[in-house]
């Protein structure tokens, strides 16, 4: 009986992962297609990648996107970590319910609502739309994702360590930076990466909040996709997928080795 269950489970996993990965794999394969007709295979070619390099509009958009993503992820990580600390450590302060509501709501809020509301805010205060407004918008929704990621790590973190540091004469600020932050650092780093990719991906909120001269890559891709499937788009998508995949795998390997190191240290500490 265990055997049938095992086989069923394996079948579910194989089918599930095939469903998740096949479309992406096909997209990547057809970016190397010689033919302009995306769905007819006519031989291997990298000419669409070469064509990308001479597409100035796309290159500009990529540069804007990279800057927005870097800046917004960094600020969002700081704000999100602060939010996570206040939600886990300070269980009682005025307006806590509203605060936790504002942290969780953006996770599920339809993007059209967030985008429209931010745009109307910027218009109401006469703030010129462009690079800054897209960055602010991205900080706002990605800080909530950072907060959730960091919060889950903080919750499993032993508060006694922090208290011990305080007893030994550390200032609260010192205790945070020397004890808490190193422990939650992997979560903070993955929060940053999540914020970075969220910003890299976002089409809807950027379309609402962006202005002239701040066209992001997804906006550019979207305007071309509407005209039809072309190998150039497949090529740029493949590059993006490659960048993100390498980043995620590298980060997970780093945290894994760190984890192993940490466990070894802890075992050593226990023996002493």
């Amino acid at each position: 009986m265990a055997g049938t269950w095992g086989r069923l489970n394996i079948a579910a996993l194989v089918l599930g992962f095939a469903f998740l990965y096949l479309p992406i794999v096909l997209l990547v394969i057809y970016s190397f297609n010689e033919s302009r007709l995306v769905t007819v295979w006519a031989g291997f070619s990298t000419k669409w990648y070469v064509a990308l390099l001479s597409n100035q509009g796309l290159m500009d958009a990529a540069w804007v996107t990279a800057r927005v993503a870097f800046l917004s992820a960094t600020v969002a990580t700081v704000l999100g970590t602060m939010a996570a600390v206040s939600l886990t450590r300070y269980t009682r302060f005025r307006g806590r319910v509203l605060f936790s509501g504002m942290v969780f709501a953006p996770l599920v809020m339809p993007e059209v609502i967030t985008g429209l509301s931010l745009l109307l805010l910027f218009v109401a205060i006469n703030f010129d739309r462009g690079f800054a407004t897209v960055t602010i918008a991205h900080i706002t929704f990605s800080m909530c994702f950072v907060a959730v990621v960091v919060q889950s790590r903080l919750m499993s973190f032993d508060e006694a360590l922090e208290e011990a540091a305080l007893d030994l004469g550390a200032t609260p600020v010192g205790a945070f930076f020397q004890v808490t932050l190193p422990v939650i650092l992997p979560a903070v780093v993955s929060g940053w990466m999540l914020a970075f990719t969220l910003s890299l991906d976002d089409l809807v909120i950027a379309s609402f909040t962006s202005g002239p001269g701040a066209t992001t890559l997804p906006m550019k891709i979207y305007s071309q996709v509407r005209l039809g499937v072309t190998p150039e788009i497949n090529a740029i998508c493949t590059i993006l997928i490659g960048v993100v995949t390498v980043g995620v795998i590298a980060a997970s390997l780093i945290t894994k080795t760190r984890d192993v190191q940490r466990r070894r240290d802890e075992q050593l500490a226990e023996r002493i």
């Binding site: 996993l13 479309p23 997209l27 206040s86 900080i139 907060a147 997928i241």
Partner: protein, 303 residues
């Protein structure tokens, strides 16, 4: 000194993100509401100014009398909008059920896998989530279109002699939503299924309960928190989805996210777009509050 510093540090940690979210998340909703009560004007910004304190309190009360609920009357009077809301909720509901049906076996398979391969499986589920939403939706256009890869494959197998028309139909939207939101369903499901005590199933088996009955009587009820969290994470954003209906659903499918986008970008009717957003928010308030309660409860449990 130490204590004073501590108090400042603590206050800063709370106040800075709090203030940010108030200004950039909560206040904008009031502005949306305010503009939804305004009227369209050919100007920039394209709406008649409504109440505000710029002209003093007396002017404020004067303006309040001029507020128009015309946009809302218009929304409810026009079957286009009503149908868009209804079909959004329907499409999101069906897609959520489908995502659950597809995601549950995957999450279950992961939870029952040997613990050594679980981190790898988890990463395989998360990885597509890191790749762009837009790209993943775009990938399906090439597969689903009449001369696309799916039809080519089915022709090759000899299953069909007429191309299946899937792109630009509701079916394509279902496929798109299930595909894009699958990780959101699998992750909370996996989290609850992984924690489950499987000796309960063995006990049921020893007592003569067939595996399928044991599943429905034990596993599924115990995984309900994960089922609910997953369904909320899929349903709420799916109701307001724009990219998927726009790229896969074609011009004829009606979803409210698309309607809002069209009102805003093509018709440049900001007040109506705002009213559309307000009603959408009202529809979603119940599931959102429900989701937050569940999150808060999970938080307390994790403490």
């Amino acid at each position: 000194m130490n204590r004073a510093l501590s108090a400042i540090f603590r206050r800063l940690v709370i106040v800075v993100p709090y203030a940010w979210l108030l200004v950039f998340f909560l206040v904008p909703f009031f502005i949306v509401f305010k503009i939804s009560l305004s009227q369209t004007a050919i100007a920039m910004p394209p709406y008649v100014p409504t109440f505000g304190l710029a002209e003093g309190w007396s002017a404020l009360f004067g303006r309040l009398g001029e507020l128009s609920f015309e946009n809302y009357v218009w929304l409810f009077g026009d079957p286009l909008y009503v149908n868009a809301y209804l079909s959004s909720v329907w499409i999101a509901g069906v897609s959520t059920a489908l995502t659950l049906a597809v995601g549950y076996p995957i999450a279950y398979g992961m939870a029952r896998a040997p613990s050594s391969v679980r981190p790898l499986l988890l990463m395989l589920v998360i990885l597509p989530f890191w790749t762009s939403f837009l790209i993943r939706v775009y990938a399906w256009i090439g597969i689903l279109k009449p001369e696309g890869l799916l039809n080519q494959f089915l022709f090759f197998l000899g299953v069909i002699d007429q191309p299946l028309i899937i792109l630009n139909t509701t079916t394509a939207i279902y496929i798109g939503i299930v595909y894009s939101y699958l990780p959101f369903m699998v992750l909370p499901l996996y989290a609850t299924l992984e924690k489950m005590d499987y000796s309960l199933i063995e006990a049921a088996g020893d007592l003569g309960c067939p595996p399928l009955t044991a599943f429905w009587k034990i596993t599924f009820p115990l995984s309900l928190p994960g089922v609910l969290a997953g369904c909320m994470l899929v349903f709420i954003p799916a109701v307001g989805e724009f990219v998927i209906p726009d790229l896969l659903g074609g011009p004829r499918t009606l979803m409210i996210g698309k309607t809002l986008w069209t009102e805003f970008f093509n018709n440049r009717d900001w007040p109506v777009a705002s009213a559309v957003a307000v009603i959408l928010l009202i529809i979603l308030v119940v599931p959102i509050v429900f989701f937050q309660r569940a999150q808060a409860r999970a938080q307390e449990a994790g403490r």
